[in-house]
Amino acid sequence: MSSEYERPERDDDDAMACGYTSYDSDDDVEYAEKESADNEVPATGRGAEGVERRVWEALYRVEDPEMPISIVDLGLIYGVDVDDGTATVDMTLTYTGCPARDMLLNEVKQSVAAVDGVETAEITLVWSPGWTVEMVTEQGKESLREFGLSV
């Protein structure tokens, strides 16, 4: 290591991660997998009430990591079911090799788990029917065009 030049000083060499914050990694997000969706997809949460409605509200606030569009408008959510405090979200991804898989599943799980009235959030990844651009909602297409994407 050359000492010809000065490097920026480190604030504190002994700095440690905050002991009061739990840091969880996306790598160990737990989710189930299912062969195919059991209802018409994608789901949009129209007419949902109570806790289920709040779960949808949380899902609408989750955005795709690459584009300014809600994952619900993108058509990734295949179904939501809330039963006695357990919320189950069936969802897919735009393609099987999606590098954002763990990150997105974890974000969905955390958002849903934080909903008032939900004690446990369970995520099920569904690959059939496969996602297509036709699954994007009208509002979603509008967001994509604004972003400079032809759909």
């Binding site: 393609y95 651009v133 994509l144 400079g148 994407l149 032809s150 759909v151």
Partner: protein, 55 residues
């Protein structure tokens, strides 16, 4: 002669995508691959803007 980049020989080169900004179809595809696997690069001759297409 070296092999050419296969991605520039894909079909759909002359499909004219609709420009997301002005709606014109007077557009060209610059490259079949964009910043992610499902997007291609295009250019609009009408409003002279580059854009991408989801496909």
């Amino acid at each position: 002669m070296r092999n050419r980049d296969p991605s520039v020989d894909t079909s759909g080169k002359y499909d004219q995508a609709e420009c997301p900004y002005c709606g014109s179809t007077d557009t060209e595809r610059d490259h079949p691959k964009g910043p992610s696997l499902c997007r291609s690069m295009h250019y609009c001759n009408e409003c002279e803007q580059p854009f991408e297409r989801f496909s």
